[in-house]
Symmetry: C2
Subunit: 250 residues, 2 copies
DNA sequence: CCATCCCGTTGACGGGCATCAATGAATCGA
DNA sequence: TCGATTCATTGATGCCCGTCAACGGGATGG
């Protein structure tokens, strides 16, 4: 491992949410492969609106989110756009081992990513069963997340979906930690339009649902991007218990 | 490999849709592991309504669908039930490597499956990188399917979702083959209620949507379980082009 | 052969929500 | 500093669709 490589990776991971996962991934590798793993990654900062992987193309890059927010987006012929899922720090994206994407990867905010060409990444996975298993576990997690979204989107009323989204954000925020009775502060990075497209609704209906949750005393809206969840129990109630896995330590 | 084992597997695969995939999986294994793989599977026939994996339990079994139809189902507290996804012949189910399920696996029709305990399956994957990669590819396919459902469920109108479902069924039917201009006959194994829960709507609305597609000359309904897709192009139109990957050879 | 059940369909009704339109607040650039 | 743009919110309107109800046909069982 060259000093340059070490520098890239360490500066990239410094003080970020993603460092734990990346570090675990590295530690699991045999020593002789660690350098190779580090060597193929390139760090990049992309502005909001930038498209990292185009729709319906053989993705040539694998990516790892360090900071910011990406989304899997599909444009519909009628001009509307649908957000299939989000990519947050510590998420992998790209199409290792399987072809075209069907959707594009777009930055919703300014984002820092690590990218590497697809071939050497695949080659490394083939060579190292440990790395491949880590990747497999990652994909399994993504599968759970996707199925959870299927659950959320299938459940009727808009308020329920909004509540479910908030629950997921809370879970993401307090992960591992014991959930306090105290309000959970959420810093939403998404615009209302994006949330709407994510939940399969319109910004107007979304706004009304937020207001309703606020009237019910379940949340407090400080700014459109800063809200507090006041009552986790009632929020779960409002969500209709639609979430697949409820692993809050209540 | 004992004669008993060989008998179980060969009779199980005989003349079934699932045999191709299982055979490929076997061929990819080193010779000395093939016997081990075959030895751990047990064949079973379960009646409709039978629950193969309970919700919120550590699944102790891995399964492989030979014939019939399974579904991933989550019950909502209000009594409604939501179908998250289907499992058709050649599909794997179970929770190798990651814990609880959050939904249950239930047979919608009488179903033949191969099952095996989880530990030896995982052990075999760990021992054989080839098997693990096959499993990984399987999971990647499932991920695509799940994201496709996210897409379908997010797209507004019920008629669009119905059309999308029909498109998926058509694709499943003609997979690989060149899609003919001639009508595609679909044999639906699902009850209307189940389709409704799958698409996040009600049986009544579903019926109306089917009728509308028939009025528009896009499909012909012979019986509720036997319909012909008359115009694949218009069906795609009606679906709003919401599908992620459109790999028909039109 | 009839009674019962299950299921799909059809009709009527009401509510939720998408759409259109307008206002207000915040940010940005000239 | 002042327009211009973007975005969130609110109101009004009409339609989609979820619900309740009833009907009919096919299957099952006595």
């Amino acid at each position: 491992m060259t000093e340059h490589q070490r520098q890239v990776i360490s500066s990239a991971l410094e003080g970020r949410a993603a460092n734990g996962k990346m570090q675990r991934l590295l530690d699991a590798l045999p020593d002789d492969l660690q350098g190779e793993m580090l060597g193929i990654w390139e760090r990049a900062t992309v502005p909001a609106g930038h498209i990292l992987i185009e729709e319906n193309t053989e993705a040539e890059n694998i990516g790892f989110v360090l900071d910011g927010l990406l989304a899997m987006i599909k444009d519909l012929p009628d001009g509307r756009r649908h957000i299939i899922g989000l990519l947050t720090p510590a998420d992998l994206f790209g199409r290792a081992f399987n072809g075209k994407s069907g959707y594009r990867i777009e930055a919703l905010t300014e984002t820092e990513v690590l990218t590497c060409p697809r071939e050497p990444f695949e080659a490394l996975l083939v060579r190292s069963p440990e790395a491949e298993r880590l990747f497999l576990l990652n994909v399994l997690d993504e599968l759970d997340a996707a199925r959870e979204w299927v659950m959320v989107l299938g459940s009727g009323k808009v308020v329920q979906r909004v509540a479910s989204l908030l629950l997921i954000l809370c879970r993401h925020k307090v992960q591992g930690a014991i959930a306090p009775r105290a309000p959970i502060n959420l810093n939403i990075k998404l615009k209302r339009v994006d949330i709407a497209h994510l939940l399969g609704t319109s910004p107007e209906s979304l706004s009304r649902s937020f207001k309703q949750l606020e009237r019910d005393g379940i949340i407090a809206i400080n700014t459109p991007y800063d809200m507090d969840v006041l009552d986790l129990g009632e929020l779960t109630e409002a969500a209709g218990n639609a979430l697949l896995i409820e692993d809050f330590d209540l």
